[in-house]
Point group: C2
Chain length 212, copies 2
């Protein structure tokens, strides 16, 4: 397998964690987003969406981190990243989407660039925007973790799932941007549990071959 | 089943389509987003996330439209909304996420409000922002539809899937906001095919009991 990705892309980090949890080896193919390599001709030949991450598994070309992880879970079932019955799986997916749809898209590099370049938003306002969506979004996740009996050592139960895989990269962004985190104790507890595991720790941005 | 939703919320519309395709009956529970009913005490008692849509199926409480639809597909398998092998399912999910993660979150009501109230963006700039993410995002979807042999009468094959369910509500937003659409002929063709089906047509915003 080959994973086209970028060390600081949190969607990329999700897939690195999933591959590590499954024990799957892959070639690390760096795509330098800050240099806009994803928009260049050579990457366009690989990816119709021009986004990272992208996974090649033999002839198969897969995009969108959550779709890639669902594919990995269906193709390489152990350990399960979406364990349990339909209701448990729905809860895990909803927690992942609370991050992947409600927080992450608002703080993507291209969105921040549009704010600054097209809307002429100041750096201070841009950073306030970033923190606003992280802090309010994580508050929603906190409420779901605190109010549900399914929460265990991890977001759902006592083994890492798609929810934790989506949460941890978001926490790296939150810390890097100095977001307030004292209002989300359950989130912080789960984050600390995840980081005890090699699959999360050894794939983190600073440990990547393209880290600068 | 009870569906808490709002006629103009495109995430709500996704779930209405899925329920209709499955032939499942439900009580329509309107939540007036423009009046901020989703932030009030009575809805907080129902929903920890305070977002719509929310589906109650017996004792089960489900949030996040894509997670709800995956749950419906696992619990009420016919007709399948994620048909085929792992690779086909990954493509369908990726197309859905190209809309649900890359377009829709940027044009949510709360995001538009933040632009206007907190960042003091003009109405013209807000509308330009809206169109920018729709037009560039649909261009990505168009490239995926045009470049892949899996595209059929619908986004994937000849029956509607999760990808079409996510695409159609986005098209209603695109038309309502006068977005440019002449650059996405495959998208428009699939949209027209979907609207021939009752499951899409009879659940559209203007047909909802809370439509104004």
């Amino acid at each position: 397998m080959q994973l086209y990705n970028y060390f600081r892309s949190s969607a990329s980090y999700r897939v690195r964690i999933a591959l590590a949890l499954k024990g799957l080896a892959y070639d690390y193919m760096p795509v330098q987003l800050l240099k806009s390599e994803h928009l260049g001709e050579s990457y366009a030949a690989v990816s119709a969406s021009r986004l990272v991450p992208l996974l090649k598994d033999g002839d198969a070309v897969l995009t969108q981190s959550l779709a890639i992880i669902e594919y990995l879970d269906e193709t390489y079932p152990a350990p399960p990243l979406l364990p349990g019955d339909a209701l448990a799986r729905a809860r895990i997916r909803a927690l992942a989407l609370d991050i992947a749809c409600e927080i992450h898209p608002l703080n993507n590099l291209r969105v921040l660039r549009y704010l600054v370049h097209d809307l002429k938003v100041s750096d201070d306002d841009k950073n306030r925007w970033y923190r606003h969506w992280v802090e309010t979004g994580l508050e929603t996740v906190e409420r779901q973790l605190a109010s549900h009996s399914g929460t265990g050592r991890f977001c759902h139960g006592d083994a890492p799932t798609l929810a934790d895989i989506t949460l941890v990269p978001q926490m790296f962004n939150a810390q890097r941007m100095d977001c307030r985190l004292d209002h989300v104790p359950q989130v912080m507890r789960v984050f600390a549990e995840c980081m005890k595991l090699d699959a999360f720790a050894k794939t983190q941005p600073s440990a990547c071959p393209d880290a600068t």
